[in-house]
Symmetry: C2
Subunit: 182 residues, 2 copies
């Protein structure tokens, strides 16, 4: 059961393929055949390293959810601007994972699959973190509500940027953050 080096490498190759496919074609484009072709392997190899398609996809989904909220240590000291900048950085520097993240978020909200719970929990944590940062810099009583609007705007802007990369994501995000911070 202990993996050899070769196995770990193709495992990464597979996850990369899944990420790319999930990002550009969504669930329906992500077939075993396509995954294997993109990873340059054969079906049998895939099933030697993963229990099934779903497991591989969930691994990538976890990557995506994990990547959106780095430095959980900082919790309690960050500002709205920092949190916003971190999100903008994640989206623009890792567009593939970002696309997966957005897809999951939307899919979770709509389909209610079993990742819906996971995503909802993640989202709540995120709202809390933003709300705490807002409350710290601004004495408004409705910090949570402001955080909800702020996150909604950020997510919406992310979708827009992924749709049309000419969008000034960073600038618009700052504009939104400025509204809340004051």
């Amino acid at each position: 059961m202990a993996r050899y080096r070769a196995g770990l490498e193709t495992r990464d190759r597979i996850l990369g393929a899944v990420r790319t496919l999930l990002s550009s074609n969504g669930l329906e484009g992500t077939t075993i055949k396509a995954i294997c072709a993109a990873a340059g392997i054969q079906a049998g190899s895939f099933y030697n390293l993963f229990e099934g398609k779903e497991q591989a996809i969930l691994a990538v989904v976890r990557q995506a959810i994990g990547a959106v909220d780095p430095d959980p240590d900082h919790h309690g000291t960050d500002t709205v601007e920092e949190l916003t900048a971190a999100y903008v950085d994640f989206i623009t520097s890792q567009p593939d994972l970002a696309r997966v993240y957005i897809r999951i978020g939307v899919g979770a909200g709509l389909g209610g699959g079993h990742s819906g719970e996971t995503f909802l929990a993640h989202h709540r944590r995120r709202v809390e973190r933003f709300a705490a940062a807002i409350a710290r810099g601004n004495k408004a009583a409705d910090a949570t509500r402001q955080a909800e609007v702020m996150l909604a705007a950020l997510n919406g802007l992310a979708v827009q940027w992924l749709l049309d990369s000419d969008t000034d994501f960073e600038g618009l995000a700052k504009l939104a953050a400025g509204r809340v911070a004051s």
Copy 2:
């Protein structure tokens, strides 16, 4: 070729089934079998009324895109609050179509399918309409940028509400609209 009444009725039944399935399960849950089961018909009947699965789906997608922006006549006289209220109303009163709309928007932006162009055009029109309304009530020079943030926030809030219907969509939307209108 001229349709009889019976045909038109089952056609509607099919579109309703597609809308429901698309809304709750996304593209991957929307199979011919599921459509026919939900519509209470047989496969042959489906292919008598539609050229294929894709055509039926596109019909529903068009419905969704069309429903989001009613009263194109009013163009030029509406306020940000009115546009916002109309959107909130659409999302909350037709959640099925709304889910389809959101899914298409996200899918289009990410997958770049051939509906991507259609959706992008629709989105630009929407931004313009909001920008015009903003410019009318507010002398800011960056009406378009504000419209982009506003729409992003609305879409993000819609996703959030579809994910968790306890969200105070209407209240938060008004809060966002207020920021822009002043």
